[in-house]
């Protein structure tokens, strides 16, 4: 039953049966209801009854973000629209956006997963939960807010406040639970320190970190500086929501919601399953009704641990995410597709694709993005006001297209050539490196 957390303690044998049943029913469902999967399985000559256990997952085709976008709007729906109560839209590198629908039940499951993790973190109805996430992560905020509210906690959702004011609210309203990204958490901590606020002045007890990998060093810093216990959660919005996995009290690996997803790790190049090593996380959402996904490639690199955790839970665990296997870049918890930037530039330059470097710079704990564009006769204008306007317009377009602001810098070709020669169009640089390059 969905409200039970006993299921996380099932024996490995019971998981085998459970997963076989879940996998078969979701494959049967998509085969009869989802045109995309029906066509794909027929093309590959796969009958759903060939899926006799979880190992047979490998017979099934993968689902990518491109597939989702290319089959916009209806081809992925497994239920009639009248059963759907919410639709989320996502940017994609393709011509159409990605659309994911949810039935009432799908949303309940997502909320339940968040509540289950909150319970493990010790979040209680008496708690005051402050969510500080970028507007680009508004969907995450929304779902976490709903979960905390249904627990009965007081929630302060993200408002467009300055960090200084957020700290003020945190102190004056005695926030006990902070939900944010690790980098924004560190930024808030630096502001709190400036104001002379530490564990004694603040009431924080639990920190829930999302969107980025929580590094050990940062975890220690946040726990010490705020006087809280840090937990990280992992999720992807296309499937299962913000809390597909969470850290328990005994392990820094994250427990997967094995009662709702069937996870695998694959080699992103050969696409073969990997059982004991790092690879791309692939998930099958077995209980999802509106848009069940078969072998969805998350693009996140991690490793699955199958043994029983010290806490007694038998759910498989993933390591904190080690990176991406595709061209998506995670900036402050927001996933940015470099392919999309390329398309934007080509569109902006009327078919011409200038050489560019996507620079992610760390500034006061937060990452800022810059787009360095090599000036060449095709786009360069000798008129300074004209060039200025060209840059501003591109920045505006970028914000609209990608959903996050960016600084556009015209640079000489030789500045970025060393990176492009090494096939790198994304680089992480600090202020010193940037200064020495631009001088």
């Amino acid at each position: 039953m969905v409200t039970e957390s006993r299921i996380e303690f099932l024996s490995p044998d019971a998981w085998g049966q459970w997963h076989t049943e879940l996998l078969q029913s979701v494959v049967n469902r998509v085969y009869t209801r989802v045109p995309f999967y029906k066509n794909l399985l027929d093309k590959e000559g796969i009958d759903p009854s060939q899926i006799t256990n979880v190992e047979m997952l490998k017979l099934l085709p993968f689902t990518t973000r491109e597939d989702l976008a290319n089959h916009y709007p209806y081809d992925f729906f497994a239920v009639p629209l009248r059963d759907i109560v919410r639709i989320h839209t996502f940017k994609s590198s393709q011509l159409s956006p990605i659309v994911i629908g949810y039935t009432k039940r799908d949303l309940e499951i997502r909320r339940f997963l968040a509540i289950r993790a909150f319970n493990v973190f010790g979040v209680r109805p008496e708690d005051i939960v402050q969510i500080c996430l970028d507007p680009g992560m508004s969907m995450w905020s929304l779902e976490l807010k709903e979960a905390a509210e249904s627990l009965g906690a007081l929630v302060i959702p993200p408002d467009p406040l300055r960090a200084k004011d957020r700290i003020k609210v945190m102190r004056d309203f005695k926030t006990t639970v902070l939900i944010t990204t690790p980098s924004y958490g560190l930024y808030l901590l630096s502001i709190a320190r400036e104001k002379g606020l530490g564990p004694r002045e603040l009431s924080l007890r639990v920190g829930i970190f999302i969107g980025e990998t929580l590094k050990d060093k940062d975890r220690k810093e946040l726990e010490k500086g705020f006087g809280l216990r840090a937990f990280s959660i992992y999720g992807i919005m296309e499937a299962m929501g913000p809390v597909m996995a969470y850290e328990c009290r005994d392990s820094k690996r994250l427990h997967l919601a094995l009662d709702h997803v069937i996870p695998e790790v694959i080699d992103p190049k050969t696409l073969e399953p990997i059982f004991n090593g790092v690879g791309e996380l692939v998930i099958t959402t077995a209980t999802t009704k509106a848009n069940p996904l078969i072998r969805f490639r998350t693009g996140d690199l991690t490793k699955i641990t199958y043994n029983v955790c010290e806490c007694g839970r038998t759910t498989w665990r993933i390591d904190p995410i080690k990176g991406r296997s595709d061209q998506l870049v995670n900036v402050r918890g927001i996933k940015i597709d470099v392919g999309l930037i390329r398309r934007l530039l080509t569109e902006y330059c009327e078919g011409y694709e200038p050489k560019f470097l996507f620079v992610i710079r760390k500034k006061e704990f937060l990452e800022q993005i810059e787009l360095w564009i090599a000036m060449d006769p095709q786009i360069f204008s000798a008129s300074l006001p004209e060039l200025h306007l060209w840059i501003r317009n591109l920045e505006t377009k970028f914000k609209d297209y990608i959903g996050i602001s960016c600084i556009v810098r015209p640079v000489e070709k030789r500045t970025i050539a060393p990176f492009l020669d090494r096939n790198k169009d994304i680089v992480y640089l600090d202020n010193n490196e940037i200064n020495s390059l631009l001088l």
Partner: protein, 243 residues
């Protein structure tokens, strides 16, 4: 308690079950729902050994029972109440019940105890214990069929369409008695076209559609599932964009 994996059953060239997997834990009431012809009765008959599957696995308490004959399966503790009751009409209620305990006819004391238990759950049967079973009403016959299965002291009771042809009032009685038997420690798999009724008394459920399980979950969630409601009301999926 019972776990089934990848069960394939055919009647001649017609495939009825196409890789069904499900499980029942000790003490549960599990409902199997689906339209006419989905394969529900076939599944029940296969578990009780009346039909031989083409392939698959049926394990009862860890033991593979797929090749066992029906009597051996009853001895292990699985009793079937077939669709349409099939009681012995010329025999009395009591004789029917005693026949149910045929495999343990030497256990006089146990039989007596079970009869008392049955008569407390189904007082109507006590009233009519010397009456010919054929003269009972439909509801009473259904009670008798369930009671007779209970007399074999099963640990798992398979109920095939207990609501068939019963008036709503009588149906309530039958459902209550099923819950009562479950409280006595009996694990129950119930197959029903009357999905809502079955989901009301069960803890979990599976939805069978043309020989395949397409959905499972707690009975509460299934009861509210639009797919289940539609299937029960007989609507289809043609208009996927309709809202």
């Amino acid at each position: 308690m019972l776990s089934i994996q990848n069960l394939h059953v055919s009647y001649g060239p017609i495939k009825v079950l196409k890789g069904v997997s499900l499980h029942i834990d000790q003490g549960e009431i599990v409902a199997l729902i689906g339209a006419n012809g989905a394969g529900k009765t076939t599944l029940m008959s296969t578990i009780s050994g009346l039909l031989r599957p083409q392939s698959g696995e049926i394990k009862f308490e860890g033991q593979d029972i797929i090749k066992f004959p029906p009597d051996k399966i009853v001895k292990l503790g699985i009793s079937l109440v077939p669709e349409g009751r099939q009681i012995f009409a010329p025999l009395t209620v009591l004789e029917n019940l005693e026949l149910g305990a045929y495999l343990r006819s030497k256990d006089k004391k146990g039989i007596k105890e079970d009869l008392d238990k049955i008569f407390s759950i189904f007082p109507k049967l006590k009233e009519r214990k010397n009456q010919q079973a054929g003269t009972l009403s439909g509801g009473e016959q259904q009670m008798l069929a369930i009671a007779r299965a209970f007399m074999a002291r099963p640990r798992l009771l398979l109920l095939d369409e207990p609501s068939l042809g019963l008036a709503p009032m009588v149906l309530e009685l039958i459902m209550d008695s099923i819950l009562e038997l479950n409280k006595e420690g009996l694990t129950i798999l119930i197959v029903e076209q009357n999905a809502i009724k079955a989901l009301e008394i069960s803890t979990r459920g599976y939805v069978l559609e043309t020989g395949r399980i397409i959905l499972q979950g707690s009975s509460n969630e299934l009861k509210e599932d639009p797919d289940v409601i539609r299937a029960y009301l007989g609507k289809d999926y043609e208009e996927i964009t309709e809202r």
